[in-house]
Symmetry: C2
Subunit: 311 residues, 2 copies
Protein backbone atom coordinates (compact mmCIF):
# COMPACT_ATOMS: atom_id res chain seq x y z
CA UNK A 1 0.00 0.00 0.00
CA UNK A 2 1.50 3.29 -1.14
CA UNK A 3 0.84 6.57 0.67
CA UNK A 4 0.71 8.38 -2.66
CA UNK A 5 -2.05 6.03 -3.78
CA UNK A 6 -3.97 6.67 -0.57
CA UNK A 7 -3.58 10.40 -1.10
CA UNK A 8 -4.91 9.95 -4.62
CA UNK A 9 -7.85 7.92 -3.30
CA UNK A 10 -8.86 10.72 -0.95
CA UNK A 11 -8.42 13.28 -3.72
CA UNK A 12 -10.77 11.31 -5.98
CA UNK A 13 -13.34 11.05 -3.20
CA UNK A 14 -13.20 14.79 -2.64
CA UNK A 15 -13.28 15.63 -6.33
CA UNK A 16 -15.97 13.10 -7.13
CA UNK A 17 -14.25 12.09 -10.34
CA UNK A 18 -10.85 10.97 -11.60
CA UNK A 19 -10.40 13.87 -13.97
CA UNK A 20 -10.75 16.65 -11.41
CA UNK A 21 -8.61 14.76 -8.92
CA UNK A 22 -5.91 14.49 -11.58
CA UNK A 23 -5.96 18.27 -12.04
CA UNK A 24 -5.82 18.79 -8.26
CA UNK A 25 -2.80 16.50 -8.05
CA UNK A 26 -1.18 17.93 -11.17
CA UNK A 27 -1.01 14.59 -12.97
CA UNK A 28 -2.92 13.14 -15.89
CA UNK A 29 -6.21 11.33 -15.52
CA UNK A 30 -4.53 8.15 -16.67
CA UNK A 31 -2.04 8.31 -13.81
CA UNK A 32 -4.90 8.64 -11.31
CA UNK A 33 -6.66 5.71 -12.95
CA UNK A 34 -3.53 3.61 -12.65
CA UNK A 35 -2.91 4.54 -9.02
CA UNK A 36 -6.44 3.68 -8.01
CA UNK A 37 -6.27 0.43 -9.96
CA UNK A 38 -3.03 -0.48 -8.19
CA UNK A 39 -4.51 0.38 -4.80
CA UNK A 40 -7.59 -1.70 -5.56
CA UNK A 41 -5.34 -4.57 -6.60
CA UNK A 42 -3.30 -4.25 -3.38
CA UNK A 43 -6.43 -4.18 -1.21
CA UNK A 44 -8.23 -6.84 -3.25
CA UNK A 45 -11.43 -4.77 -3.25
CA UNK A 46 -13.12 -2.34 -5.58
CA UNK A 47 -13.12 1.15 -4.07
CA UNK A 48 -15.15 3.04 -6.69
CA UNK A 49 -18.01 2.29 -9.01
CA UNK A 50 -17.17 4.08 -12.23
CA UNK A 51 -20.10 5.97 -13.71
CA UNK A 52 -20.51 8.33 -16.62
CA UNK A 53 -20.42 11.34 -14.33
CA UNK A 54 -17.44 10.34 -12.24
CA UNK A 55 -16.69 7.84 -9.54
CA UNK A 56 -18.75 6.85 -6.52
CA UNK A 57 -17.53 5.06 -3.41
CA UNK A 58 -18.42 1.42 -2.93
CA UNK A 59 -19.24 0.18 0.56
CA UNK A 60 -15.65 -0.98 0.92
CA UNK A 61 -14.54 2.44 -0.23
CA UNK A 62 -16.75 4.12 2.36
CA UNK A 63 -15.27 1.93 5.08
CA UNK A 64 -11.76 2.60 3.85
CA UNK A 65 -12.14 6.38 3.57
CA UNK A 66 -11.86 7.35 7.26
CA UNK A 67 -8.92 4.95 7.63
CA UNK A 68 -7.23 6.57 4.64
CA UNK A 69 -7.78 10.04 6.07
CA UNK A 70 -6.38 8.95 9.43
CA UNK A 71 -3.38 7.42 7.69
CA UNK A 72 -2.60 10.69 5.95
CA UNK A 73 -3.11 12.63 9.16
CA UNK A 74 -0.71 10.38 11.04
CA UNK A 75 1.82 10.61 8.22
CA UNK A 76 1.54 14.37 8.40
CA UNK A 77 2.22 14.33 12.12
CA UNK A 78 5.11 11.92 11.72
CA UNK A 79 6.64 14.34 9.25
CA UNK A 80 6.05 17.28 11.59
CA UNK A 81 7.71 15.47 14.48
CA UNK A 82 11.13 15.85 12.88
CA UNK A 83 10.63 19.18 11.16
CA UNK A 84 12.21 22.16 12.81
CA UNK A 85 10.03 25.19 13.15
CA UNK A 86 6.76 24.47 14.87
CA UNK A 87 7.42 20.83 15.63
CA UNK A 88 5.99 19.05 18.69
CA UNK A 89 7.42 19.88 22.10
CA UNK A 90 10.28 17.45 22.68
CA UNK A 91 10.95 16.45 26.27
CA UNK A 92 13.60 14.14 27.68
CA UNK A 93 12.75 11.86 30.62
CA UNK A 94 14.89 9.47 32.62
CA UNK A 95 12.85 6.44 31.71
CA UNK A 96 9.45 5.70 30.36
CA UNK A 97 7.98 4.52 33.66
CA UNK A 98 9.39 7.09 36.01
CA UNK A 99 7.88 10.08 37.73
CA UNK A 100 8.76 12.49 34.91
CA UNK A 101 6.81 10.31 32.53
CA UNK A 102 3.83 10.56 34.88
CA UNK A 103 4.14 14.35 34.94
CA UNK A 104 4.13 14.39 31.14
CA UNK A 105 1.06 12.20 31.05
CA UNK A 106 -0.66 14.64 33.35
CA UNK A 107 0.38 17.51 31.12
CA UNK A 108 -0.95 15.70 28.08
CA UNK A 109 -4.29 15.11 29.79
CA UNK A 110 -4.51 18.80 30.71
CA UNK A 111 -3.44 19.98 27.24
CA UNK A 112 -4.33 17.29 24.71
CA UNK A 113 -4.04 19.85 21.92
CA UNK A 114 -0.28 20.15 22.41
CA UNK A 115 1.71 17.66 20.38
CA UNK A 116 4.42 15.96 22.41
CA UNK A 117 7.47 13.82 21.75
CA UNK A 118 9.20 12.06 24.60
CA UNK A 119 12.79 10.90 24.20
CA UNK A 120 15.27 9.33 26.60
CA UNK A 121 18.87 10.48 26.86
CA UNK A 122 21.26 9.11 29.44
CA UNK A 123 23.74 11.65 30.56
CA UNK A 124 22.97 15.13 31.73
CA UNK A 125 25.77 16.46 29.52
CA UNK A 126 24.09 14.96 26.48
CA UNK A 127 20.81 16.49 27.59
CA UNK A 128 22.37 19.92 28.09
CA UNK A 129 24.02 19.77 24.68
CA UNK A 130 20.72 18.70 23.12
CA UNK A 131 18.87 21.51 24.90
CA UNK A 132 21.46 24.00 23.68
CA UNK A 133 21.30 22.82 20.10
CA UNK A 134 17.52 22.84 20.12
CA UNK A 135 17.32 19.09 19.50
CA UNK A 136 15.16 18.84 22.61
CA UNK A 137 13.14 21.53 24.34
CA UNK A 138 13.25 20.38 27.95
CA UNK A 139 14.63 17.66 30.18
CA UNK A 140 13.69 16.20 33.55
CA UNK A 141 16.87 15.81 35.59
CA UNK A 142 18.37 16.02 39.03
CA UNK A 143 20.40 19.13 38.43
CA UNK A 144 23.78 20.29 39.66
CA UNK A 145 25.63 17.09 40.31
CA UNK A 146 28.73 17.86 42.38
CA UNK A 147 31.37 19.87 40.54
CA UNK A 148 29.20 20.25 37.50
CA UNK A 149 27.11 23.40 37.82
CA UNK A 150 24.57 24.12 35.12
CA UNK A 151 25.73 26.45 32.37
CA UNK A 152 24.38 29.96 32.50
CA UNK A 153 22.10 29.65 29.46
CA UNK A 154 20.27 26.62 30.88
CA UNK A 155 17.50 27.39 33.32
CA UNK A 156 15.94 24.94 35.72
CA UNK A 157 13.21 24.68 38.31
CA UNK A 158 12.54 21.96 40.87
CA UNK A 159 9.28 20.29 39.92
CA UNK A 160 9.03 17.17 42.07
CA UNK A 161 10.58 15.64 45.17
CA UNK A 162 9.90 11.95 44.82
CA UNK A 163 10.28 9.72 47.90
CA UNK A 164 12.11 6.46 47.34
CA UNK A 165 10.56 3.16 48.34
CA UNK A 166 12.11 -0.20 48.97
CA UNK A 167 11.01 -2.96 46.63
CA UNK A 168 11.31 -6.53 47.94
CA UNK A 169 10.10 -10.00 47.16
CA UNK A 170 7.72 -11.82 49.53
CA UNK A 171 10.51 -13.84 51.15
CA UNK A 172 12.66 -10.85 52.04
CA UNK A 173 13.36 -10.18 55.73
CA UNK A 174 11.72 -6.75 55.49
CA UNK A 175 8.79 -7.86 53.36
CA UNK A 176 6.34 -7.62 56.23
CA UNK A 177 7.35 -4.16 57.41
CA UNK A 178 4.93 -1.27 56.94
CA UNK A 179 7.91 1.04 56.68
CA UNK A 180 11.65 0.79 57.21
CA UNK A 181 14.24 3.26 58.44
CA UNK A 182 17.41 3.95 56.55
CA UNK A 183 19.35 2.54 59.50
CA UNK A 184 17.52 -0.78 59.09
CA UNK A 185 18.78 -1.03 55.53
CA UNK A 186 22.43 -0.94 56.50
CA UNK A 187 22.93 -4.70 56.54
CA UNK A 188 20.87 -5.55 53.44
CA UNK A 189 21.96 -5.91 49.85
CA UNK A 190 20.35 -3.43 47.55
CA UNK A 191 20.64 -4.18 43.88
CA UNK A 192 20.28 -1.58 41.14
CA UNK A 193 21.60 -3.00 37.88
CA UNK A 194 20.00 -0.24 35.83
CA UNK A 195 22.31 2.43 37.18
CA UNK A 196 24.65 4.05 34.65
CA UNK A 197 27.95 5.39 36.06
CA UNK A 198 28.52 9.06 35.41
CA UNK A 199 24.86 10.01 35.38
CA UNK A 200 23.44 12.32 37.98
CA UNK A 201 21.32 9.55 39.49
CA UNK A 202 24.44 7.46 39.97
CA UNK A 203 25.82 10.44 41.89
CA UNK A 204 22.62 10.54 43.95
CA UNK A 205 22.97 6.91 45.03
CA UNK A 206 26.70 7.36 45.65
CA UNK A 207 25.88 10.11 48.12
CA UNK A 208 23.14 8.00 49.71
CA UNK A 209 25.59 5.13 50.19
CA UNK A 210 28.31 7.40 51.56
CA UNK A 211 26.06 9.14 54.05
CA UNK A 212 24.23 6.15 55.53
CA UNK A 213 26.63 3.26 54.94
CA UNK A 214 24.30 1.30 52.66
CA UNK A 215 25.30 -1.48 50.31
CA UNK A 216 24.17 -0.78 46.77
CA UNK A 217 25.31 -3.12 44.03
CA UNK A 218 25.18 -1.85 40.50
CA UNK A 219 26.98 -4.89 39.12
CA UNK A 220 25.71 -7.25 36.48
CA UNK A 221 24.17 -6.54 33.14
CA UNK A 222 20.88 -4.69 33.04
CA UNK A 223 18.34 -6.93 31.35
CA UNK A 224 15.57 -4.42 31.82
CA UNK A 225 12.89 -3.78 34.35
CA UNK A 226 11.10 -7.10 33.86
CA UNK A 227 14.18 -9.19 34.60
CA UNK A 228 14.97 -7.01 37.62
CA UNK A 229 11.50 -7.53 39.05
CA UNK A 230 11.67 -11.26 38.40
CA UNK A 231 14.94 -11.52 40.30
CA UNK A 232 13.80 -9.33 43.18
CA UNK A 233 10.63 -11.37 43.53
CA UNK A 234 12.53 -14.66 43.74
CA UNK A 235 15.48 -13.65 45.89
CA UNK A 236 15.04 -13.28 49.67
CA UNK A 237 18.27 -11.33 50.15
CA UNK A 238 17.91 -8.71 47.44
CA UNK A 239 15.92 -5.50 47.39
CA UNK A 240 15.98 -2.39 45.23
CA UNK A 241 14.99 1.25 45.37
CA UNK A 242 12.18 2.61 43.30
CA UNK A 243 10.57 6.02 43.04
CA UNK A 244 7.18 6.33 44.66
CA UNK A 245 5.65 7.38 41.34
CA UNK A 246 7.30 4.71 39.22
CA UNK A 247 4.76 2.67 37.40
CA UNK A 248 5.49 -1.01 37.64
CA UNK A 249 4.11 -3.67 35.43
CA UNK A 250 4.60 -7.13 36.80
CA UNK A 251 2.78 -10.39 36.42
CA UNK A 252 0.28 -11.17 39.11
CA UNK A 253 1.51 -13.51 41.84
CA UNK A 254 4.96 -12.10 42.17
CA UNK A 255 4.12 -10.84 45.61
CA UNK A 256 6.35 -7.79 45.33
CA UNK A 257 6.17 -5.28 48.21
CA UNK A 258 6.69 -1.53 48.09
CA UNK A 259 7.83 -0.29 51.46
CA UNK A 260 8.21 3.40 52.40
CA UNK A 261 11.61 4.42 53.76
CA UNK A 262 11.85 6.83 56.73
CA UNK A 263 14.33 8.51 59.13
CA UNK A 264 15.11 10.23 56.88
CA UNK A 265 12.95 9.69 53.84
CA UNK A 266 15.24 9.77 50.77
CA UNK A 267 13.64 11.86 48.06
CA UNK A 268 14.82 12.16 44.51
CA UNK A 269 14.84 15.77 43.27
CA UNK A 270 13.39 16.13 39.77
CA UNK A 271 13.96 19.42 37.99
CA UNK A 272 12.91 20.68 34.60
CA UNK A 273 15.73 22.04 32.45
CA UNK A 274 15.32 24.25 29.40
CA UNK A 275 17.21 26.80 27.37
CA UNK A 276 16.85 30.44 28.30
CA UNK A 277 16.15 31.42 24.70
CA UNK A 278 13.93 28.53 23.61
CA UNK A 279 10.96 30.13 21.83
CA UNK A 280 8.69 27.07 21.69
CA UNK A 281 5.24 28.29 22.79
CA UNK A 282 4.33 24.97 24.42
CA UNK A 283 7.37 25.20 26.69
CA UNK A 284 5.84 28.10 28.62
CA UNK A 285 2.62 26.11 28.90
CA UNK A 286 4.49 23.12 30.29
CA UNK A 287 6.30 25.26 32.85
CA UNK A 288 3.06 26.91 33.92
CA UNK A 289 1.35 23.53 34.17
CA UNK A 290 4.12 22.06 36.32
CA UNK A 291 4.23 25.12 38.55
CA UNK A 292 0.48 24.91 39.05
CA UNK A 293 -0.02 21.20 39.56
CA UNK A 294 3.10 19.94 41.31
CA UNK A 295 2.89 20.36 45.05
CA UNK A 296 6.13 20.90 46.89
CA UNK A 297 7.25 18.17 49.24
CA UNK A 298 7.79 18.77 52.91
CA UNK A 299 11.54 19.11 53.36
CA UNK A 300 11.49 18.18 57.07
CA UNK A 301 12.41 14.56 57.65
CA UNK A 302 13.51 13.97 54.11
CA UNK A 303 17.00 13.63 52.64
CA UNK A 304 18.51 14.88 49.42
CA UNK A 305 22.20 15.26 48.56
CA UNK A 306 23.85 18.51 49.54
CA UNK A 307 24.27 19.54 45.92
CA UNK A 308 20.51 19.34 45.48
CA UNK A 309 19.64 21.71 48.27
CA UNK A 310 15.91 22.16 48.80
CA UNK A 311 14.53 25.16 47.02
Amino acid sequence: MDLEAVRTFVAVVEAGQFQKAAIDLSVTQQAVSKRIATLERDLCVRLFTRTQRGAELTIDGQAFLPRARELLRVAERALASVHPGSRPLRVDVLNSRGAASGLMRGFHRAHPEIDLDVVMLFEIETAVTAIRSGAIDASFRAVAAPGRPLPEDIESVRVLDEPLQLLTGPAHALAGARSVTVAQLAGHRIWMPGIVPGTEWAAYYDDLVAEFGLTIEATGPNFGSDALLDTIADTPTLATFMGEHTRLIWPAGHGLRRIPVTDPMPVYPHSLLWHRDNPHPALATLRAHLAATVAGHDAAGSWTPDWAAPH
Copy 2:
Protein backbone atom coordinates in the same frame (compact mmCIF):
# COMPACT_ATOMS: atom_id res chain seq x y z
CA MET B 1 7.73 9.41 2.64
CA ASP B 2 7.37 5.75 1.74
CA LEU B 3 5.68 3.23 4.02
CA GLU B 4 8.24 0.60 3.06
CA ALA B 5 11.00 2.95 4.19
CA VAL B 6 9.23 3.53 7.50
CA ARG B 7 8.89 -0.22 7.94
CA THR B 8 12.61 -0.55 7.25
CA PHE B 9 13.36 2.18 9.79
CA VAL B 10 11.49 0.32 12.51
CA ALA B 11 13.18 -2.93 11.52
CA VAL B 12 16.60 -1.33 11.87
CA VAL B 13 15.67 0.07 15.28
CA GLU B 14 14.55 -3.36 16.43
CA ALA B 15 17.54 -5.15 14.96
CA GLY B 16 20.02 -2.54 16.14
CA GLN B 17 21.96 -2.74 12.90
CA PHE B 18 21.39 -2.52 9.17
CA GLN B 19 22.70 -6.00 8.43
CA LYS B 20 20.30 -7.87 10.70
CA ALA B 21 17.40 -5.71 9.59
CA ALA B 22 18.25 -6.60 6.00
CA ILE B 23 18.06 -10.32 6.84
CA ASP B 24 14.76 -9.81 8.68
CA LEU B 25 13.34 -8.03 5.65
CA SER B 26 14.87 -10.49 3.18
CA VAL B 27 16.78 -7.84 1.26
CA THR B 28 20.44 -6.95 1.07
CA GLN B 29 22.19 -4.61 3.48
CA GLN B 30 22.72 -2.15 0.64
CA ALA B 31 18.98 -1.94 0.03
CA VAL B 32 18.37 -1.13 3.69
CA SER B 33 21.12 1.47 3.59
CA LYS B 34 19.54 3.07 0.55
CA ARG B 35 16.04 3.08 2.02
CA ILE B 36 17.21 4.72 5.23
CA ALA B 37 19.26 7.24 3.26
CA THR B 38 16.20 8.10 1.15
CA LEU B 39 14.02 8.44 4.25
CA GLU B 40 16.60 10.68 5.90
CA ARG B 41 16.75 12.79 2.76
CA ASP B 42 12.94 13.06 2.65
CA LEU B 43 12.76 14.05 6.32
CA CYS B 44 15.83 16.29 6.15
CA VAL B 45 17.18 14.81 9.39
CA ARG B 46 19.64 12.11 10.35
CA LEU B 47 17.81 9.21 12.01
CA PHE B 48 20.77 7.01 13.00
CA THR B 49 24.34 7.52 14.08
CA ARG B 50 26.31 4.79 12.37
CA THR B 51 28.73 3.07 14.71
CA GLN B 52 31.05 0.12 14.36
CA ARG B 53 28.60 -2.17 16.07
CA GLY B 54 25.51 -1.10 14.21
CA ALA B 55 23.21 1.90 14.22
CA GLU B 56 21.91 3.97 17.13
CA LEU B 57 18.97 6.33 17.09
CA THR B 58 19.60 10.05 17.07
CA ILE B 59 17.31 12.31 19.08
CA ASP B 60 15.32 12.97 15.93
CA GLY B 61 15.16 9.24 15.38
CA GLN B 62 13.87 8.71 18.90
CA ALA B 63 11.17 11.30 18.36
CA PHE B 64 10.24 9.79 15.02
CA LEU B 65 10.09 6.18 16.23
CA PRO B 66 6.70 6.23 18.00
CA ARG B 67 5.23 8.15 15.05
CA ALA B 68 6.59 5.54 12.68
CA ARG B 69 5.14 2.72 14.76
CA GLU B 70 1.77 4.47 14.88
CA LEU B 71 1.88 4.98 11.14
CA LEU B 72 2.44 1.28 10.54
CA ARG B 73 -0.29 0.38 13.03
CA VAL B 74 -2.77 2.67 11.29
CA ALA B 75 -1.78 1.30 7.90
CA GLU B 76 -2.35 -2.20 9.25
CA ARG B 77 -5.83 -1.25 10.44
CA ALA B 78 -6.62 0.48 7.17
CA LEU B 79 -5.73 -2.72 5.38
CA ALA B 80 -7.82 -4.78 7.80
CA SER B 81 -10.84 -2.53 7.27
CA VAL B 82 -11.33 -3.89 3.76
CA HIS B 83 -10.14 -7.42 4.30
CA PRO B 84 -12.80 -10.05 4.62
CA GLY B 85 -12.40 -12.46 7.47
CA SER B 86 -12.05 -10.79 10.83
CA ARG B 87 -12.48 -7.25 9.60
CA PRO B 88 -14.04 -4.47 11.70
CA LEU B 89 -17.79 -4.58 12.33
CA ARG B 90 -19.40 -2.61 9.53
CA VAL B 91 -22.63 -0.83 10.35
CA ASP B 92 -24.86 1.30 8.13
CA VAL B 93 -26.58 4.37 9.57
CA LEU B 94 -29.04 6.82 8.03
CA ASN B 95 -26.78 9.82 8.48
CA SER B 96 -23.80 10.80 10.52
CA ARG B 97 -25.70 13.05 12.91
CA GLY B 98 -28.74 10.91 13.51
CA ALA B 99 -29.87 8.80 16.43
CA ALA B 100 -28.27 5.63 15.07
CA SER B 101 -24.95 7.40 15.00
CA GLY B 102 -25.42 8.29 18.66
CA LEU B 103 -26.18 4.67 19.49
CA MET B 104 -22.97 3.61 17.76
CA ARG B 105 -20.98 6.21 19.67
CA GLY B 106 -22.39 4.78 22.89
CA PHE B 107 -21.46 1.28 21.77
CA HIS B 108 -17.95 2.41 20.97
CA ARG B 109 -17.60 4.00 24.40
CA ALA B 110 -18.79 0.78 26.03
CA HIS B 111 -16.58 -1.44 23.84
CA PRO B 112 -13.58 0.58 22.67
CA GLU B 113 -11.73 -2.63 21.85
CA ILE B 114 -14.13 -3.43 19.02
CA ASP B 115 -13.06 -1.97 15.71
CA LEU B 116 -15.94 -0.27 13.89
CA ASP B 117 -16.63 1.05 10.44
CA VAL B 118 -19.67 3.19 9.83
CA VAL B 119 -21.04 3.60 6.32
CA MET B 120 -24.12 5.30 4.91
CA LEU B 121 -26.35 3.67 2.33
CA PHE B 122 -29.56 5.24 1.13
CA GLU B 123 -32.17 2.70 0.27
CA ILE B 124 -33.25 -0.16 2.42
CA GLU B 125 -33.00 -2.47 -0.58
CA THR B 126 -29.35 -1.57 -1.00
CA ALA B 127 -28.83 -2.17 2.69
CA VAL B 128 -30.55 -5.55 2.57
CA THR B 129 -28.49 -6.59 -0.44
CA ALA B 130 -25.33 -5.46 1.32
CA ILE B 131 -26.29 -7.33 4.49
CA ARG B 132 -26.96 -10.44 2.43
CA SER B 133 -23.67 -10.23 0.57
CA GLY B 134 -21.75 -9.63 3.77
CA ALA B 135 -20.59 -6.20 2.60
CA ILE B 136 -22.07 -4.76 5.80
CA ASP B 137 -22.87 -6.53 9.04
CA ALA B 138 -25.80 -4.49 10.30
CA SER B 139 -28.02 -1.55 9.41
CA PHE B 140 -30.16 0.88 11.34
CA ARG B 141 -33.47 1.24 9.51
CA ALA B 142 -37.18 1.68 9.89
CA VAL B 143 -38.16 -1.78 8.79
CA ALA B 144 -41.11 -3.15 6.87
CA ALA B 145 -42.17 -0.27 4.70
CA PRO B 146 -45.64 -1.00 3.29
CA GLY B 147 -45.70 -3.83 0.79
CA ARG B 148 -42.06 -4.61 1.31
CA PRO B 149 -41.71 -7.15 4.08
CA LEU B 150 -38.20 -8.11 5.15
CA PRO B 151 -36.81 -11.26 3.56
CA GLU B 152 -36.73 -14.32 5.76
CA ASP B 153 -32.95 -14.41 6.15
CA ILE B 154 -32.79 -10.84 7.50
CA GLU B 155 -33.54 -10.46 11.18
CA SER B 156 -34.40 -7.23 12.93
CA VAL B 157 -35.15 -5.83 16.35
CA ARG B 158 -36.60 -2.47 17.33
CA VAL B 159 -33.88 -0.54 19.16
CA LEU B 160 -35.14 3.01 19.48
CA ASP B 161 -38.35 5.00 19.18
CA GLU B 162 -37.20 8.54 18.53
CA PRO B 163 -39.72 11.38 19.00
CA LEU B 164 -39.74 14.00 16.26
CA GLN B 165 -39.36 17.66 17.09
CA LEU B 166 -40.24 20.74 15.14
CA LEU B 167 -37.31 22.94 14.22
CA THR B 168 -38.09 26.62 13.54
CA GLY B 169 -36.36 29.94 13.23
CA PRO B 170 -36.91 32.70 15.81
CA ALA B 171 -39.41 34.53 13.62
CA HIS B 172 -41.69 31.54 13.07
CA ALA B 173 -45.22 31.73 14.38
CA LEU B 174 -44.66 28.71 16.63
CA ALA B 175 -41.21 29.73 17.79
CA GLY B 176 -42.40 30.68 21.25
CA ALA B 177 -44.40 27.52 21.91
CA ARG B 178 -43.15 25.08 24.55
CA SER B 179 -44.79 22.31 22.58
CA VAL B 180 -47.10 22.03 19.61
CA THR B 181 -49.82 19.51 18.70
CA VAL B 182 -49.92 17.80 15.36
CA ALA B 183 -53.23 19.58 14.72
CA GLN B 184 -51.51 22.94 15.10
CA LEU B 185 -49.10 22.05 12.33
CA ALA B 186 -51.82 21.57 9.73
CA GLY B 187 -51.59 25.05 8.26
CA HIS B 188 -47.82 25.43 8.31
CA ARG B 189 -45.25 24.64 5.64
CA ILE B 190 -42.81 21.97 6.63
CA TRP B 191 -39.71 21.68 4.48
CA MET B 192 -37.60 18.58 4.28
CA PRO B 193 -35.29 18.82 1.26
CA GLY B 194 -33.09 15.98 2.42
CA ILE B 195 -35.77 13.39 1.86
CA VAL B 196 -35.06 10.78 -0.80
CA PRO B 197 -38.13 9.31 -2.54
CA GLY B 198 -38.35 5.56 -2.28
CA THR B 199 -36.60 5.29 1.05
CA GLU B 200 -38.39 4.04 4.12
CA TRP B 201 -38.21 7.42 5.82
CA ALA B 202 -39.94 8.97 2.80
CA ALA B 203 -42.66 6.39 3.38
CA TYR B 204 -42.80 7.39 7.04
CA TYR B 205 -43.40 11.05 6.23
CA ASP B 206 -45.89 10.13 3.49
CA ASP B 207 -47.94 8.30 6.11
CA LEU B 208 -47.62 11.19 8.54
CA VAL B 209 -48.89 13.60 5.89
CA ALA B 210 -51.72 11.32 4.89
CA GLU B 211 -52.96 10.71 8.41
CA PHE B 212 -52.86 14.26 9.78
CA GLY B 213 -53.19 16.42 6.71
CA LEU B 214 -49.83 18.11 7.03
CA THR B 215 -47.94 19.95 4.30
CA ILE B 216 -44.47 18.56 3.82
CA GLU B 217 -42.40 19.89 0.93
CA ALA B 218 -39.51 17.80 -0.23
CA THR B 219 -38.86 20.01 -3.24
CA GLY B 220 -35.64 21.78 -4.05
CA PRO B 221 -32.11 20.54 -4.07
CA ASN B 222 -30.57 19.34 -0.85
CA PHE B 223 -27.53 21.48 -0.14
CA GLY B 224 -26.87 19.72 3.11
CA SER B 225 -27.75 20.23 6.71
CA ASP B 226 -25.98 23.57 7.08
CA ALA B 227 -27.87 25.20 4.24
CA LEU B 228 -31.14 23.76 5.57
CA LEU B 229 -30.52 25.24 9.01
CA ASP B 230 -29.57 28.59 7.50
CA THR B 231 -32.82 28.75 5.54
CA ILE B 232 -34.97 27.63 8.46
CA ALA B 233 -33.36 30.21 10.71
CA ASP B 234 -34.05 33.04 8.29
CA THR B 235 -37.52 32.11 7.08
CA PRO B 236 -40.55 32.83 9.30
CA THR B 237 -42.88 30.53 7.36
CA LEU B 238 -40.75 27.40 7.14
CA ALA B 239 -40.13 24.70 9.70
CA THR B 240 -38.74 21.17 9.54
CA PHE B 241 -38.81 17.90 11.46
CA MET B 242 -35.82 16.59 13.27
CA GLY B 243 -35.22 13.57 15.47
CA GLU B 244 -34.91 14.30 19.16
CA HIS B 245 -31.43 12.72 19.21
CA THR B 246 -30.14 14.41 16.09
CA ARG B 247 -26.99 16.34 16.79
CA LEU B 248 -27.11 19.74 15.23
CA ILE B 249 -24.15 21.94 14.60
CA TRP B 250 -25.12 25.49 13.86
CA PRO B 251 -23.43 28.82 14.27
CA ALA B 252 -24.29 30.70 17.42
CA GLY B 253 -26.91 33.38 17.03
CA HIS B 254 -29.17 31.52 14.64
CA GLY B 255 -31.85 31.39 17.30
CA LEU B 256 -33.18 28.02 16.15
CA ARG B 257 -35.87 26.43 18.33
CA ARG B 258 -36.49 22.72 18.90
CA ILE B 259 -40.13 22.23 19.86
CA PRO B 260 -41.62 18.90 21.02
CA VAL B 261 -44.67 17.69 19.08
CA THR B 262 -47.62 16.12 20.92
CA ASP B 263 -51.13 14.70 20.42
CA PRO B 264 -49.87 12.34 19.23
CA MET B 265 -46.12 12.46 19.47
CA PRO B 266 -44.72 11.17 16.16
CA VAL B 267 -41.89 8.76 16.85
CA TYR B 268 -39.51 7.36 14.32
CA PRO B 269 -38.95 3.62 14.72
CA HIS B 270 -35.28 2.63 14.45
CA SER B 271 -34.52 -1.08 14.08
CA LEU B 272 -31.27 -2.96 13.76
CA LEU B 273 -31.10 -5.31 10.77
CA TRP B 274 -28.64 -8.14 10.32
CA HIS B 275 -28.28 -11.42 8.50
CA ARG B 276 -29.43 -14.58 10.25
CA ASP B 277 -26.14 -16.34 9.44
CA ASN B 278 -23.65 -13.51 10.01
CA PRO B 279 -20.85 -15.00 12.12
CA HIS B 280 -19.14 -11.74 13.11
CA PRO B 281 -18.47 -12.01 16.87
CA ALA B 282 -18.89 -8.28 17.46
CA LEU B 283 -22.42 -8.42 16.00
CA ALA B 284 -23.68 -10.38 19.00
CA THR B 285 -21.96 -7.86 21.29
CA LEU B 286 -23.68 -4.99 19.50
CA ARG B 287 -27.09 -6.64 19.79
CA ALA B 288 -26.57 -7.35 23.47
CA HIS B 289 -25.42 -3.79 24.06
CA LEU B 290 -28.44 -2.32 22.32
CA ALA B 291 -30.81 -4.64 24.11
CA ALA B 292 -29.31 -3.65 27.46
CA THR B 293 -28.98 0.09 27.05
CA VAL B 294 -31.86 1.22 24.89
CA ALA B 295 -34.98 1.86 26.91
CA GLY B 296 -38.26 1.28 25.17
CA HIS B 297 -40.44 4.28 24.54
CA ASP B 298 -43.91 4.54 25.96
CA ALA B 299 -46.23 3.65 23.14
CA ALA B 300 -49.21 5.48 24.62
CA GLY B 301 -49.74 8.91 23.10
CA SER B 302 -47.23 8.36 20.34
CA TRP B 303 -47.70 7.66 16.66
CA THR B 304 -45.94 5.38 14.24
CA PRO B 305 -47.14 4.14 10.86
CA ASP B 306 -49.29 1.03 10.85
CA TRP B 307 -46.54 -0.94 9.12
CA ALA B 308 -44.23 -0.23 12.01
CA ALA B 309 -46.44 -1.61 14.72
CA PRO B 310 -45.04 -1.21 18.23
CA HIS B 311 -43.07 -4.19 19.40
